[in-house]
Symmetry: C2
Subunit: 352 residues, 2 copies
């Protein structure tokens, strides 16, 4: 099969879904995309592993990057795709082959866009950061990603979502003293002590700050807990793993200081953290896109690769078909009309 970029964005999405591309298994889909774009005279195509970068070079005053990952989370009995009542069901239909289809259609059919465009299709987004194709490109070939503005085609239900929240995981450790459980009063139970950590979490009031006009919504949650030595031993350690989702008005360092403050009295060990991205809606390049797409921009609460563009100094927003609430769910799906609508609006903006 060679992808048929003359098919509608809806049909093209179904074709993309039916080429299984669970993270680590992107090669066939990358080959198809590479083959479909390589023959187009208005594009210069680069390949880095299973990431494809295709650029126009029209000498326009502005350049926009339009990016989407081509991998998916693991199979959940949801392939091949099926269409029912105008809705496409299947693995990756929502996250984010609908957005990839829109970008491929624009790449194929807009030979002379009003802004130069860099299309980026990349691998390894649904797994650990070190496998992320956009991160790899940003290290190996940052010049390929250079742009005034980036659009990440993550599912946003066809609304512009600005920036993203950061995320930090930390281990909060309660300690005690071991003893035989038949004489528990000789020791100090670290699991019971961890109850005080959970009390802090249960009483926590999450911030909902406005950042550049968008309202974010933080969260601080236990995502893991482990403790215990043996069935007859009072345990001397209990570790609560917490996940702090923080608005982009806080840096990673500020987030860390906040956790140390909230859990004063316990050992706090940050295990991983990535900063968020400010929405950048005050940038002119972003403003014109937001105005063209219509609607009221929202804050992006989940972390996305817009933060990687932000780290390169490129303002970025999320915009694409599909409802992020069903991303990663076995029943993920996307409305076909929304894919077509996203394509139409972006085509209008890029033609202007």
């Amino acid at each position: 099969m060679i992808l048929d970029l003359s098919a509608t964005a809806a049909d093209l999405t179904a074709s993309l879904v039916d080429v299984e591309s669970v993270s680590g298994n992107e090669q066939r889909l990358a080959d198809e995309i590479h083959a479909a774009l390589a023959g187009l005279p208005h594009l210069t195509v680069h390949r880095d592993g299973n990431a494809i970068v295709a650029r126009t070079a029209l000498g326009r005053a502005q350049r926009v990057a339009i990016a989407g990952h081509i991998d998916t989370v693991p199979l959940a009995g949801n392939l091949p795709s099926r269409v029912s009542g105008g809705v496409l069901h299947g693995l990756g239909s929502c996250d984010m082959k609908g957005g990839v289809a829109v970008a491929l259609r624009l790449a194929a059919h807009l030979a002379a866009p009003s802004r130069d465009v860099t299309y980026v299709f990349y691998d390894g987004e649904e797994v650990e950061a070190e496998r992320n194709g956009l991160l790899r490109l940003s290290r190996s070939s940052p010049e390929l990603l250079a742009a005034d503005f980036a659009i990440l085609m993550e599912p946003t239900d066809g609304q512009v979502e600005g920036g993203c929240q950061g995320t930090m995981r930390a281990q909060v450790r309660a300690t005690g003293e071991r003893a035989h459980s038949a004489r528990s009063w000789m020791g100090r139970n670290a699991i019971h002590e961890a109850g005080a950590i959970l009390d802090v979490l249960r009483g926590y009031q999450a911030r909902q700050p406005d950042v550049e006009g968008l309202r974010y919504h933080e969260g601080l949650n236990a995502v893991g807990i482990t403790g215990g030595v043996a069935g007859n031993v009072i345990p001397d350690e209990c570790v609560v793993t917490v996940n702090y989702r923080f608005a982009p008005d806080r840096s990673v360092e500020q987030a860390r200081a906040h956790l140390e403050d909230v859990f004063a009295g316990w050992e706090v060990q940050v295990t991983d953290a990535v900063s968020g991205a400010r929405p950048g809606l005050d940038q002119p390049a972003v403003g014109s896109f937001v105005a063209a797409m219509g609607g009221t921009p929202r804050a992006k609460l989940g972390w996305t690769d817009v933060a990687r563009f932000d780290a390169l100094g490129i303002p970025a927003v999320n915009f694409g078909p599909g409802d992020s609430l069903v991303a990663h769910a076995p029943h993920e799906h996307v409305r076909l009309a929304q894919i077509e609508d996203c394509e139409a609006r972006m085509r209008t903006w890029l033609a202007a």
Copy 2:
């Protein structure tokens, strides 16, 4: 080597410690004990795997069982034994080769005790119940264990300790609803919910009931906790494993009902339970032993194999050299004079 039962109980204990007999590896020590007892004309010796039963048959009005396990917990850099300042250090010195030495000395040298005696040396006490040699004997040859009274030579610091507490483990389950941790308010966090279970444990007032004149001390503790799905998921389950140590005035069924009452509102699943043993100090056979040993009997808080004798209808007490607080510790040890003293007192009682 053949064990030298003419050596002092102190020296014999050191010899027993130096024959490593971690649970599962008792054969060599069982062979040595078997060989040392087999030639004695006043004893009839039976063997069942690595358990040895040696009985006098003098037609006395009463029969007493004197029992000790020959296995130990795993090595902890504490072999061979060493003596320092009248104290023997080494694996099993406290739990319970000192008691085994006393029983072997009595078996060898009391050819005509005032009560018939059944000496029981058994394997597999420090591991799961199904490997316990006393349990195996009680099923295969209960007639070999028949007695009016039993003394289990567990370390009690040379004091009579009556009965033992029961022990029950249960899983108490908090549930919730999964969600992406970037939108935690869409779910319900089961680990946070488990904080309420820990609150119950932190506020729990343990009973300290008097049973037949002995004061027991219960305990209810978390010995394990586990919860969490992934670093970015609000978890829908958290399981707290609790260990309830209950006085012998409560049956297993009463203990279960108590846990269901304490944790009303959560799912409680009992995973294992063994009943305790009442002290039996009101039995005449027990009373004479207690009087002969002197001191004030105490309640045994940890579960011991006295409960197996109790289940056979045989009243039993714990009595032996060594401080149970150092049992299972790498630095376990026993005072040599206490071993000799225990032997002397029991010899006097059995000669009377």
